[in-house]
Every structure is written in C-alpha cells, then in structure tokens.
Symmetry: C4
Subunit: 275 residues, 4 copies
C-alpha cells in the first residue's frame, strides 16, 4: 500500500535531517493499526469511506463507492442499493468483472454498478472508485466550465478535468436517461475518464478514482473543496491562476499523506458511525 | 402505493438478471414495515415528513405539509398552525374539500390551508402537497429566472417551472398581501400549477405535489438541491445545459426509488424526532 | 403585549368561521405560559433572544440586544460586555436614559450601549433593540446596494432600508473609528433609523427594532433570510421584483404571529441554552 | 500580555465614567484564570486554538499553528504532523530558530514548519503564527483580487493584504511545488508578509500573525468572515467601501478585546474538545 511507501519516505527524511518532501506521513497518528492489505481491511475502509463521504456532504442518498478485491483483482466490493450513510459491512456485496453480483443473498445490487466494473476493466491501476452527486461539482458540468486544480491539495486533478456528456453515448433514436445503467454507457464513461483521476458527468455528478479507498475518499473531499474555491474565484475574476504542470507533477501521489486527513475526517464522524 | 409497484419491478429485474431500470427499489432497506396504505400510515409519514423538511432546511417555522385521506379522498390531513419541526400526530387535523376543519378540538388551523384544498380539488392524482419558503428556491421567482431541471434527480420538474404572481390574482383595487388565505387565491395558484409537480410563488415560496407524502418530501429536497446547483451554474455561465424532454421522460415516477432517500433523510433526523 | 391582541384576533376569526387574517396566532403552542408583561418576563425573553440570535448565526461574539423596562420606560436592560451565546439573567444590567448603568455591581457595560439609549429616546414605540454584525446583511452596506424586502416574512422592512455612514457623523478633523461609542454618534444613527424597523451600518452591521424582544428577534432572523435571498436573486438578475407598498402594508404587525417562529427557534437551541 | 493592558484600561474608563474606548475588555468573563505568561499557559492556549480553528472551519486537516516560547524567544511550539482538531498537549513539539525539533521523541515534525521559524526570525513582535487553507480566503489569491478590510473587526488587515506567489520564490529551472518546505521559500514568504498581520499564498492558503495565540486565533476567524463578506459585496457591486486608514488606525490592538470572542468560540467547541 502506498501509505507504507510514504512512511519509509518519512523515516528516511528524519534520519537524513533534511526537509521532508512529503505532506507529512505519520508515524503514530493513524487510528487504525496498519493491517496487511487484505479484503477484510479494504471492506472495513470502504464502510468508513461511505460514512465520511456522507458526513462531508460529498454523497447524497444515491452515490456509491467501491474497492477492488486484493485477493482477486477481477472482482470488486460495493454496497447493495443503499444510502452510503447507512452502509455496514453486512451490506457489502462482491461483483465480477462484468458487474454481476457473485453471491447476492437476496440483496439488491445498485443499478449503476457498471460504472465501477468498466473503470476497473479499463484502469488496472485503479483500486477504488467513488461516484458522487456533489452539488459543489455539478455546476461545472452543467455550465460547461472547466474544473481546473486551483488549490495545493487538488494536484491530483489534470489541467482540465474531462467532462462526460451521456447524450453522446446514446444512439440518436434511443430512449435515453441520465443514469449509467449498462456496460455500454459505462464503457463510454471509462473512456472519457482516460488516465485522469476524476471525470465529470453533466447533470449527474462525477467519478473519482485512486490506488486505495482512503486516497479516493480524500480526493473526493478535495475535489469538492477545489470546486467551491474555484466557483468563488471565478465570481471574483475570470482571470484566475490555476496550478500549472510543474505544480501538479510535484504534488504527486508519493508526496501526499493520506492518513492525516483520513484520520481527521474519521474523527468528525457522528459517534454512531465511528465504530 | 407507488412504492409497491417499484418493489415488484425490482424483484422482477433481479429474476430476469437484466440491468434494473429503476434507481434501485429496496427489498429490505426501508426502516418501516410496509403497512397497508391506511390513514394511520399516511399520518405517520406526514409527521416524519414535517421533521425531514425542517431538518433539511426546506422548511422554516411557517411552511406546511398535507396528505390526502386514503379512506375519503375528499379530505386531507394537515397539522394545526405550528412550525413543522414541532409537529406530532396529536397536531394533525382533518379538513374537508373546502379547507374547513372537520373536528378542530380547539386547535388553530393554518390560514393558508386553502392552498392544499384547492390543489386536491384540481388534481385528483395528487396525494400530498408541501408548501415551503425555502431560501434556495425563492431567488428564481424574485429574479424571474426560470427554474429548470439540471440534475438527474430533478426529472420530476417540467422544462420550465411555472411561476405564480399573486398580484395577478388580486383585483386591482383590493388591499393585497403575499399570503394565500382564501379559496379564490388558492384556485389561481392551483391553475398556475396545472399538471406540474412544482409551482413557484414570487417572494413567498413554492408548492410541491406528488402521489405520496414520501415522494413529495424527496421532491421538495431535490427541488432545493436543483435550485442551488442551478444558481451556481448560472453564476459560472449563462449558457447551461438543462435536462431535455427525453431525459425527463425517462426519469419518470416508476424509475425513481423513493424509499432509499427517505430512509437516508430519516436517519439524519435528530434523535428526538426519529420516534 | 401584541401577542395578546393577535390571540384575541385568532379566537375571533375562529368563532366567525372566516379565513383568518393573521399568519396564525397560536392558542396553545407557546412553550411559555403567558405571563403578565413584567420586567422579569422581558429579561427572561431577552436571555433566550441572545441565545437564539447566536444560534441562528445572526450574532457573533460582539453583538448585543436590549429591552426597555416595562416598569420604567426611561430605562432598559442589556447584558454586560459578553458574547450573546454566554448571557444568563445574572449578566443583565439596567441602564438609564443616557446609557449609564444604574447598579453595575462591578460588571463591565458594553461600549456601544449608547446605540440602545439613543434609539429608546428617539422612538417611544420601540421596546427592543438588536445590534448585529450578521455577515449576510453586511455586504449591502459595503456595496451600497439597497436592502429591499423581497420575501413575505420581511414585510417589516421599508421599501429601501436606510444606510448609516459613520464617516458623516464624525467631524472632518477627528480621529474616527467604526464603533458607535458615544451619544453623539448614536444620535446620528437613531436619526438615520427614523421610523424604520432596520438601519444598516456600513462595514459594521445593522440594528433591528420592534415592539417586543420576541418580535425584534424574529425580525433579525428574517432580515438575514431576506438578505441572503436578495443576494442570490441579484446574482441571477438585476431586474428583481421586491414587495411593493400594498404588500408591505398588508404584512403589518397585527398580521404576523411572532410566537410560532419564536417557539420554533427556541426548539432549535442546544440543550444547555434551552433552560 | 496585552489583555492586562486592556483590563486596566477598562477599569480606568469605568472609574472616570467616560465612554470606554475599548471593544469591552472583561473583568470577569474569561473562563480561564489569568495565569502568568508562561510556556505552560501558551501551550494550553495553543491546543485550544487548534480546536477553535478546526471547529470554525478555518482549518482543514493540514493547517498548523504555533506560539513563540516565553522562556526562550529563539524557540517556538507547534504540534507534530497532525490535523489540528486532533492535537493534544502531548503532540506539541519545541523547535529552534532554524525549525529543527529540539527533542522530537520520535514524533514527526510538520514539513512546513519553516513558515513559522522564518516569520519568528523576521518579526520579533510576533508571538504566534497560524497557517490556514481556509476556502473563504483562497479565492482572493487565485483571482488576484485584493483582500481589503471591509468589516469593523478586521481593522488588523492593511489596506491591501500582500499576496505571496510561490513561483517567484523558486528558481526558473527548478522542480517546484506549492508547499513551503524549506527555509529559502519561507524567507521569501516572511519578506512578503512584511509588517502586515496577514499574507495570502496563491492557491495554498494564508498566514496570520499576532502578539498572542489568542489574538492570532481571533484574527484568523475574522479574516475568514471579512473574506466571505467581501466576496458577497463584490458580487453585488464592484464599487465597495472598504475601511480607510483612519478606521484601521483607530481599530488598533489596544482597542480590541480578544477575550470576549475567544471565550465565545471556546464555548462553541464540541464537549470533547473543551477540556
């Protein structure tokens, strides 16, 4: 897991007595004991991620989060059709690479699970997918205004975040809606995502991907903060300064401590959700 | 009740192994046992709806909600003059088709109950009416800017939400105010509503109608989200992309699971209101 | 007290079987037993008003509220220099018509108490004064954009809310600040208030007055809501529809039930502040 | 400490029976007994300041606060790399004038601690430094729009708040990021701060300095309020009235009671953070 890499990194920096390059990986500030990267651990993080995204206003009752299986990378875990704030471990279902539930046990799968299966197919590097309807991000797709990274913590965004227009994915004569409820539509979405960490979906929401569910959660939260800051900045002036290529490159994965904000956001959960 | 239809729909989809067309009706995620559609059940939902609307910022101290009687469709239930956050079952009064309280027991009726009686008269399909003063929706009527559906969950809105100007309903020489405290004014409002699910009232608020109090509640909440997203989008660009006719048609009642967001919003209530 | 008048009004309406003209005065929904209008009752309401204004975001740590004495209209009650959220009955001091504390008992008086003494002098009809720094209202004075009434509940605002520019009240050669810490400055403020219920203070805040501390509280809250709604409306269009003279006239004091929102806002207080 | 000065001031004003010039220093309203100005007291205030800044939305998981040592002005105290909401006294580390931890005891230092060391070096008057990523302030740096003082409580801001562009501090050929993780970058930041109390950092956040950690906290909170009010005012009109030189001068340190808002903000902390 990436957090191991950044820890070693941190300890090395300390030994050498030089300025640390990372945002500050923690030696002792993670609430969770560092477990081996197992499916049990991933599912535990997935449930917490559902609660964090709901608590931070990133998720309404309809969004969904998933994590790839560590044991079998062809499969992924995702809750049954349920509001993220209500998800417990018992609600997590396993899906195959086509988005079919492996052992549903009578639980209803989410109609948009293909978003997840198609992104995992197209992006072997991706370990977690978050699909959100966040009201802070939606205006950019609806207005056709580019979501650019403008704050230091949003260095995971590309210079221009891709925008998925679902009308382009439907045949001209078809009945068409807004939801991504087939592999065909989801493939078009995954194609628009490309190598990005985020793809906007016009009038619907957006998807965030990362190499862990913790990182995807922090990215989802900072995508939101970045959107709100950019919205306000654009109301002050159309002539803004976004992060440039060097600033983004520097701000890469290994320089960003995920556990610090993860622990912080977990602390903010209502008691009942903290487990 | 509609939720029965969407459940059958869901189970059928599961059996056929095809992608479900609904937003995801739940088999087991409703906190409330599915009771028969009785007045007792409708009143229980009405009280919860009052608390949800207050808790989500859709309601201030003056808004009001009602549900049609299942037993006698000429009648409806609505709380006495009381802030929605404070409503309990004991506060619910029964009204006849003219908006007269059937058995007031000394309780004060709301001065604007005619909004409800006239809408029930004009729209036999409507089972629930919510009148809100939500600060997110008000700016559209005041600015005369059309409230269009721009997010997937707001497919219940027409392409242009009708706007009621109360000055048009008053005689030129009359003393006139903002409130709808007579059948005459309420009839003009119901006429402006027409076949829509929402009507804006300039400088006053808006009304939301639906085929159940649960659905009306979810529509009231998403009318708010849609208004906030549209407000931000219009500040980014005047050239926005709203939902089109196909997207609205596809997003019809039977494709939208009401119980998922209802259960989610109910979970968010302060302990004292959860019953 | 006005609420007595509106109660009679309500009972009369019920007896006559006509549409009630009031917003709905309550027969039984006030949490507080209707006490005679005594100074004890006014001070009890003043303490609750401090907590409500803090809880609704109308007050920061520096605002202040006062009520005229029922026993001696030349005097008024106001807390010592203390954040409103922290005020208890023991913090309430009595002041004479010049703003001097009658019996300070070592308690520090607020430096801006002259705002209150001068308004009580100029406006015999005023029983309560609230001075707030609300961030929702401040932008209008700073931008020099008129705060107009645009929502039904803000009918107490005049067509144009007066704006106090403190620079005009200082002599040209004087050292001058933003605060109103002398009778001279406060007299200029009271003059600008005139017969209005609200006066804006550029870069500082505003004052709200009414015939009771309950009504002043509700007015302060709805001044805030009106400001936020107007801010958003003006961002949608410069061509807005405000309330007109007839709509304001109709919306007069006797038509507005203060107890309903008061009880509602009191219910929202954190447990520790509910007494 | 300044608060002692303002207390004497207050008592003197009372004795003379004149209008008090201060915002109202308190005789008895500070929750904390007035302890001698020791490092223990400074560290206790620092921990509370961390919680207040997090609770008021001024701090995300990555901001940091420090206070100069009273015993040895060449040193300062700052928490290990940890979200401010989680900081306890055990997390506070001591640093020397170059930003090296004196006795780390295995605790990870924050990568941006040089911001603090360089400001303490350049500004002997400064006793506390707060570095924040507040979303309310960020838009001004990104849009290149001047953050001016527009509210009475923000008289500590200069007429134009300086803006630090980190690109100017990097060599042209260097890899460069957004974070201030070296003494060289921090020196450039301290130089841009100059004699101001606040410096904006484009796309990153800002720094607030003061003569005590309490005052720095109140300044950080009012920098935020000022930014939000200015943002809204600029959306109403480009022709705004900011505080002028006289208004700022009058609003100087000795006229501003820090304990009143400090106690108020402390009261707002969740129970677990109140100690």
């Amino acid at each position: 897991m990436l957090s191991n890499m950044s820890r070693t990194h941190g300890a090395l920096g300390m030994l050498l007595g030089v300025a640390l390059l990372s945002w500050g990986a923690s030696l002792a500030d993670s609430q969770t004991e560092q477990a081996p990267d197992s499916d049990a651990q991933r599912i535990e993080d997935l449930v917490i991620a559902c609660h964090i995204c709901a608590n931070e206003g990133v998720m309404d009752g309809f969004g969904h989060l998933s994590v790839r299986s560590a044991r079998n990378p062809e499969r992924f875990f995702m809750s049954r059709a349920l509001a993220p704030a209500q998800v417990t471990a018992a609600d997590i279902m396993e899906f195959d690479r086509s988005g079919n539930p492996v052992d549903p046990q009578g639980r209803r799968a989410n109609g948009e699970r293909f978003i997840h299966s198609e992104i995992y197919k197209a992006r072997p590097d991706v370990q977690a997918v978050i699909h959100s309807h966040s009201p802070a991000v939606l205006p950019f797709g609806i207005a056709g205004v580019s979501l650019k990274p403008v704050i230091a913590q949003a260095g995971f965004l590309p210079l221009e975040t891709p925008l998925f227009e679902i009308r382009d994915a439907w045949g001209a004569a078809e009945e068409r809606g807004m939801l991504v409820r087939s592999s065909k539509l989801a493939r078009a979405l995954a194609e628009k995502l490309g190598t990005s960490s985020v793809v906007l979906m016009r009038g619907h929401g957006h998807c965030v991907v990362a190499d862990s569910i913790r990182r995807a959660t922090i990215r989802a939260v900072y995508t939101d903060v970045n959107a709100r800051v950019l919205q306000s900045a654009l109301q002050l002036s159309r002539n803004i300064t976004a992060l440039d290529e060097k600033e983004i490159a520097y701000n890469a994965t290994e320089n960003f401590d995920v556990d610090r904000p993860w622990d912080n956001l977990r602390l903010r959960l209502p008691e009942a959700s903290k487990r």
